[in-house]
Symmetry: D2
């Protein structure tokens, strides 16, 4: 809501709710951010969550649980809507772009296949899992520079990743929970899809092993990931760092409104990145990398730490960036 209110290209016209239809958004919402609820959003009367409700809209952002999203988002695409969805369902379908714009902006062309196969005018675009979005931003320059053989990520994920009520205070205070339902599989599988190359036959995933151990920690926002990456070509540590700091991709070149100046920020201080201090880098749209090292002399192994804002870069912000990419690159005429 905060990202869409005042957006230079998009106008907030309809909000739907499965329980609060009839109320104004400002009455129905329990606003728990420390920035105020935008008046523009507060005044909108909530419609019921049904495809008809958004008949007048051209672009629809979906933030529903997978089961609820399932029918609705296909229906919307059939109606000709551009659907940008955070729901995990359909993310791995071969004709559905799973976009982390700086990394795989070109996958948007999968929409040609999608429209042909499904016979609809609309589009179904997917926002990746938060941990994966953060991870792949750090991996892409490295893959381009040195080739990737295997990736092992150990994550420390914030409470907000599970939604406002997802993690009980009694569970997480003075504690860590070393398991997040379904998360490790998502990281493995979505990373491969995002890092795939798009050819005439569709997506082709890289030959790369990806594994993750995901944990929940007592932090409000920001996922921190310790990454060990084996690469193929010998490179100096400084080359790797330069590949991160110099990286600018299509969203930057197109000056998309939500694109951060730099997708990856490298911090030299040896005790960074830290969630509370670094999560808002690039207004929450950059990831912050630090502690890059080659732990074993002569081995093509890199260790680093990457941090990103899970509800901005990892979810809502990424969704808005995807929509911007679509209108700028895929259907600029609209």
């Amino acid at each position: 809501m905060s990202l869409l209110a005042g957006h230079p290209w998009f106008e907030l016209t309809v909000l739907t709710s499965r329980r609060g239809a009839g109320l104004r958004y400002g009455e129905a919402v329990r606003w728990v951010l420390d920035t105020p609820l935008p008046q523009e959003a507060a005044d909108i009367e909530l419609s019921p969550t049904k495809p008809e409700a958004v008949r007048e809209a051209e672009l629809v952002f979906v933030a529903l649980p997978s089961e609820a999203a399932a029918g609705i988002e296909v229906e919307l695409a059939k109606m000709g809507k551009v659907v940008v969805s955070n729901a995990s369902i359909y993310r791995l379908d071969s004709d559905v772009p799973l976009l982390n714009p700086e990394v795989n902006w070109d996958h948007i062309k999968l929409l040609d296949v999608q429209r042909r196969l499904r016979g609809w005018r609309g589009a179904l675009l997917k926002v990746p899992n938060c941990t994966t979005s953060i991870l792949t931003l750090s991996l892409k320059p490295l893959a381009d520079l040195a080739g990737l053989e295997s990736v092992t990520a150990v994550t420390m994920q914030s409470i907000s990743g599970a939604g406002f009520s997802g993690v009980p205070g009694y569970m997480i205070t003075d504690n860590i929970v070393p398991f997040i339902e379904g998360e490790e599989e998502k990281v493995s599988r979505e990373t491969l899809k995002i890092m795939a190359s798009l050819g005439p036959e569709g997506l082709r995933e890289p030959e790369m092993l990806v594994t993750a151990t995901t944990t929940r920690v007592p932090v409000l926002d920001g996922h921190l990931e310790v990454v060990y990456a084996s690469y193929r070509r010998d490179v100096e540590l400084q080359e790797v760092i330069d590949s991160w700091t110099s990286w600018r991709s299509t969203p930057q070149e197109l000056s998309l409104p939500t694109a951060p100046e730099a997708p990856v920020v490298y911090v030299k201080e040896r005790d960074r990145p830290q969630p509370r201090l670094d999560r808002m880098a690039g207004r929450g749209m950059s990831v912050v990398v630090g502690r890059a090292e080659k732990p074993f002399k002569g081995k093509k192994l890199l260790r680093y730490v990457v941090l990103g804002h899970n509800t901005i870069r990892g979810a809502a912000g990424n969704g808005v960036l995807i929509a911007e990419l679509y209108y700028k690159l895929y259907e600029p005429s609209v």
Copy 2:
């Protein structure tokens, strides 16, 4: 469960569940204490939460939400059961003992009235609100010594007071919520009932103003309360402290198994009591008082801080102590 398993007088025979009937308790429960689940409890097969389920039991502990408790506990008492209940419903009924044993053990005699009025052989006994139990333990010696005119309590209550999932981690991390639904009224009204004197006409509440501001803080267990008490007779601060430390009441005299050695422990260190360090005093059954002062010379006003374990002294432990009191004092023949 931890308090009942291995109890010298009571045997755990039936456990009921509204959702898990058929499973063994050890399979159904998500055990979140750092002490192990007692095997004795783990092995019991859960029965559905219906009065018939406990037909063989004589004593029933009820820890249901108020709505669910409503019908069931009256039914049980009619069946002749001794019901010790944490549910807030019926707490203020004039023939229902609301017991904080050291403070108002004699109110158990209200059961005479209850049985006569309601025509049942069983008994309905209520555990007070957690904050009130802790508060009244600290007030009782003071009331006896100096008479109480008014009491103002500002509380900082732990997360466990709202149940395992009651307080989202995202709500309470780096935060305080200065409101707890229904709590301030409970403190005011239950304090007066517990501090009442029992005469031939029933309970007579003291002439005393009681008010509270209750807040939720990021602490796992233990409610801390800052108390300002206006009293009637002039007393020295040391007399007040002595009245706390020397206090032994009926549960101590009867050597009830769950009674702490001292109901009130006074700490001299000026930065105590602290929840994490003091909540387990008397195995969680004592309250710990500190920082007693007369803030204004010549005024009969006392300030102190009291801390108690909300789920032990403030709930389950108090329930067990009430049951012990019943069998020792009211129906010793059983």
Copy 3:
């Protein structure tokens, strides 16, 4: 630093350090805010903390421990500097303005006395204790409306109030410490001085009892205070609320750059103010009040909760506001 860099009236020219002289500020500082260190400050080379260091400056902000501040700030005032100091020493001196600008801006006239008595051209101006600044902003409209007889405050103070290293993580995690050295006395005494009226004989403190219980809680920033105030004239609750929301004082009328639009913001939601959600109200310069109630019918007693940002409104921001007041009101010719 964040407040001074880019200030429309003041220019940052000298920074001193007791240990880091010779380094640039950006090298010496461990910056722990989530907003970046201003470049303007980072580039300044640190001078040793001695009066000579600031010879060229006209206005000096002092944030030293009391013992270190003692000699230096008198020296600076003798040199003709305008000294705005957070150190607690001298705060209660009768010729030293202790300023919370919206509340007692007129006390700045005490400088006439100060200059006459001490024979210096400079000025020594004091920033009050953080808890007291927040409290007195909420008390002032109430005092003007209804007269105050007594004030009891129970505070829940954030970790940053003790400085970056002041509260060990092991002390405060899952805990509350119900004592802060010297704080309760400061609240009592500084509140009376700030609420005093300035007459020809100097400050005259109100006939009012003020007492506080101050505690430390696991919150990063923002002090929350539960206040019970006895007042003299009968007023409706709504009048009190209106007196807060409509209040604009001299800093607002003078449009001082750091003055918030409203010194007091009233929130209707019954579970607010909350530190994490409300501490940045008015860019950290407003206090947020909620939960106002008259707990006892017919008694002139008010209960409310007030929250303020302790390091902005309670310290650095207040200091900048005091300096602005001085240049606008007391020596506008400069």
Copy 4:
């Protein structure tokens, strides 16, 4: 102190302090555990921290910073004392046993070399780094079963690992610090020394790569470590789990008083081990392992999570266990 008071073999006779000499321990200490200070310790008058102070003692536990420990512990060993030290200095010396008793109890025989080389009657025995003690307990059964090729550990370490004041509350609340000074090197180097085999030529370290990324998290006690281990011989996952659960070593066989029943406890629940729930396993002397998996089919790679109590198993408790091992195994005649 808690572990030594009431110890069946050792008697607490002397306590020294660098600042509090002359006071009784109970007066000097700021006791921050939730178990009471043992009276036996409280009553002892503190001596100055000098070798002479412990002239009457035979066994000396050293918990000094490395610089302070340096001279003193050699002096003590020369005086004939059995010195068990937590200080990191000398840990890697080739004639100093670095003991994690279940893992490398036999290294105590290095004392023969130590006494011969240094010509003293005493003994210098070292407690390993906390993270390493926990890690190596989990590695030893695996190394015996399958042979280890490389080990990668990502740790989430509790606040108490840095001492009471080591981690400011403002640094760690809602945050993670992905760096701990010197820790990663200690894990690499001490693991190799502990896992070494002792032959006639002294210790021989295994051919194994060990690397670690160590982070600080907002948890009071308990270090959690995510471990990826490449092994040499093909084994089933269940064999690995069995090797942990069935493991009993010399401390268990000798029934040393502080030895846990099982050095490694395996938990099947997929969201365990958790620091708050599992750190006290085996009275803080067991480590708890969970989430064992082979992430890639056909690869000899194991992933698991291990948790241990850093100040008990990782420090003080291990020290006491080492002392017990010494008296039972090395100088049983004493």
